[in-house]
Subunit: 135 residues, 4 copies
């Protein structure tokens, strides 16, 4: 398993008139979680794209337990539970500072080549960096 | 079953650098779909809130089959498959004009009272409007 | 002068905890206004991009007079007040159904070539379509 | 003058198909800038709202010099140039790590009482914290 943690602060524009973070914004929080997970692994998603690999999202599941509020500092814990074969799944749990569990999300992405839009295997570079975490 | 249809056009700001609609924006498309579903049922979500009922989202599942692109006119088909008891689930399928199936989403919402934040039964008004569709 | 009108309905996710549309979302409303203005002129921004022209925004000014609220149907009136030379300015005024003037925005865009990122003259196609409105 | 600095990293979902940050997202960046400015001043906007003061935006001006890109770490420099009387203006300049000046924004907000929606003077607490910076 590969696990990382990052933090974000809720922006005013991310709340809705219910006074809490709009449910649609969690997708972007999960994206921040996995961007930082990839960075902590030792590469960047930006480099991956520049090397010709795109990673479109194929599915997402979210469970909303408790709401996040404006100016909350959120802890994003992102895990890769399995070595990717054709796809890669990132699980992100979001907590408040007091460890209240707010949200659990799971996002699965494919690997495709930019040049032809066709699915491809995960780049060796990612696999090499992940393998030591899955012994 | 209760089924409705509405249309939206993809905005430029909803695309990302992959050249397609960012995966996080579908939550808002689903919201448009269920807002219109409730309206076509004969009430509005705005009235529901004004009458003291909030409907926070408790879970969401999305499958992304094909990407939507800038300026595409999308068809949102939203269905309520079961008469709600404590929660209500809206299933929204998104199609292009040529009937390509782009995205399938399912969003479950609770009913809570604004005054105390406690879960409550679905308002009789909704149930009365839905019942004829579930005979 | 070239003037057009289009309508949009405020989405829940566009409100913030003040109970009104977040000030940042008007940029997207203005974009909807100018997308429709270009369409009513007789071409589409999508075609422009596909023909190799990008139109990055260089400046924006917004005056917020009255707030818009969830589910409001807004009237967007977009005008091009001058025949573009190196840049083009779209002025969009947003009204409620009862003609209350909510917001006034002005957005100026440049024309650049996709291939080299360099500024260029407005495409002849746009100028030809606009000229009859500026006699 | 009161001046502060904070940093944010561009999220994927903030880019558009032009490959750069969508012009509409800068309003949220400016909001992050002023939220941190208020925090560094010694209070929080959240406390202000909880004490019954709302600060709706009344106008915004933005000049876009250079684009920001995915994963860029941006430096937001926010200044209050005048002691507020009825309104307060925050000027935010956005820079890349290499000090390229990307964007200049100016946002003016009013002070209103939550209970009646009426304009009011700036809270004494803010004025007391600001005065030493305007001697």
């Amino acid at each position: 398993m590969f696990a990382t943690e990052t933090r974000i602060r809720v922006r005013y524009g991310e709340t809705d008139q219910m006074g809490v973070v709009y449910y649609g914004h969690y997708a972007q929080y999960f994206e921040v979680g996995r961007t930082e997970a990839i960075r902590q692994l030792g590469l960047t998603y930006r480099e991956l794209e520049e090397s010709g690999i795109l990673m479109p999202v194929v599915s997402m599941e979210v469970n909303y337990h408790q709401p996040a509020r404006y100016d909350d500092e959120l802890i994003l814990r992102t895990r890769i539970l399995e070595l990717p074969r054709t796809m890669i799944t990132f699980s992100t749990d979001i907590y408040k500072q007091d460890e209240t569990h707010l949200t659990a999300g799971s996002v699965t992405l494919a690997f495709i080549r930019k040049e032809n839009g066709k699915p491809c295997r995960p780049p060796e570079k990612i696999l090499d960096l992940l393998r030591p975490h899955f012994l």
